[in-house]
Amino acid sequence: MSQLVKHHLFWPLCVLAVLLLFNLCYSPDFFSITVHDGHLYGSLIDILNFGAPLILVAIGMTLVVATKGIDLSVGSIVAISGAIACLSISKASDQNALGLILTSVLLAAGLSLMLGVWNGLLVSGAGIQPIIATLILMVAGRGIAQLVTGGQIITVTSSKYAYIGSGSFAALPFSIFVVALILVIAVLLTRKTALGLFIESVGCNPAASSMSGIRARWVILSVYVFCGLCAGIAGLLLSSNVSSADGNNAGLWYELDAILAVVIGGTSLNGGRFYLTGTVIGALIIQTLTTTIYMIGVPPEITLVVKACVVLAVCLIQSDTFRAAMAARWKSRHYPAEKEVTRHVS
């Protein structure tokens, strides 16, 4: 039993369960899933579908956080990737050509890969702190996205492109399969090869890992590249879901949500260990929370306040000092004489 409580997924799963339970009490048809034209519909499916981009970004962010880094530019990469894809599609005469969609998607993915390389080089090559290195792309990236879209919202009318974000495959949203694919690749690479160990070791101490023969710089570079790619794919999902690209607002606040998901999932911001499944659950918690807030009719603006309280609570619980302080309070409250006894003994 105590082992169960200590498992890193225990608390995140509890929170998720409480949220779902609350939804069930509040609206009994929350769990009902109906079938229309071979597609599944329902709140749960919506949470998975709308949460897909966030899960993707958060997976990339997990690995970056595991190396004791942070990537603030993911929101901007989301915007740039969607903008590039929509721009290249909107320019073509036949927007439904399969070749065109594929080239656009590859273009967007390639570009986000390059942006990841840029971040990675700044952090591992130039040795700049991750917060600041990625801050550059966070500021400039949104400018680039606006430059690409010309400050407008580019809309595309391509059913094939829309399929990526809103189509269904085997009765489930196609986006879920994209996320599942990336997740499986990430889990296999980090847990079935030594790569995960390398990442954790670099997160603990880059200098020591270098001395023990790990190419710390390459590991750091590769996690930023992976994070950029994940954000780029998330941008594709997001823009194809609404068939448009908005350089100003696409992916706004995404970096914060992604970091929140990572932290809720049990990955410490101090680096050194990471939990990909925890992150996925963290992202689902955030998405469920947002959906719940929308559903119970509280103004959606409150979401930010709730998220702030969640971030703070999770961080306080993670803080050793806070836990020690709480434990001391609890102890002194139950055994008021204990302090005196120890004083006499010593």
Partner: protein, 322 residues
Amino acid sequence: MSLNRKFIPIVVTIVLFLVMFAAGSFRYTGFFSLQVLMNLLIDNAFLLITAVGMSFVILSGGIDLSVGSIIALSTMVSASLVQQQGWPPAVVIPLVLLMGALFGTIMGAIIHYFTIQPFIVTLAGMFLARGLCYVISIDTITIDNSFYTAIAQTRIPLPGGSFLSISAVIALVAVAVAIFTAHYTRFGRNVYALGGNEQSALLMGLPVARTKVLVYTLSGLCSALAGVVFTFYMLSGYGLHAVGFELDTIAAVVIGGTLLTGGVGYVLGTFFGVLIQGVIQTIISFEGTLSSWWTKIVIGLLLFIFILLQRVLSSRRLTLKE
């Protein structure tokens, strides 16, 4: 006499500002005037005040991501109290300043006493303040209070036919006070010591806890003051005011030559960092054909160059020591 190495970043900043201003003057007629220079101060008064507070935070080795949200919250609270509740501005403005300072104190206390990274605590503060704005109202609240409009329209005449706004004067006073605080008071030296090395500062017997909490209090106070000035500038309260502003502020501090790891830098540099951002915007508006997003790209590029410069300078200093 060779230039002291520690002055190189700030000299680079000032030279960059002069070069940009000169380039603008050569390229555009009407650019080279005192009024354009004054407009830099008028249009960036709130950025200047926030950046001054941020300088202290970064000098102490921390970071404050909540400044933009506190500005928005200040405009929102001022607007709703003055406009909807009919409170007199003489009560509202001190109240807003107090609120900002208190917000900073709480964040600072959490950062210090629970040893959580400043980045994540102020991130939560950013969410919280922005969310509270929306709790007050999701719409713009326009202010037509006579005090606010009077302050917004007052022009302080200067020789040569140019003028300054009251906001710009407040900003200049804030900069002057900050320069004095940073370089001539015990608190200022404690901040530098804290940023240099927290362990050493603690071992030297400096009041680390008090300094750290005060730094964030100061930043919160500056943001709230910037919010008040912003209310004079926009004459409205809105939850989406100053989105992404924290990055402009950090960029201003970094372009001003302050080392992000803390301990090295000057408030005066921040002043010029803000002016550089202002010049970029002015050049872009004089150019006319260029759009506002170029500002972001250029600022990002400058940030990049300055951080690389810092890297090169600090690594050279390290090798010299060895």
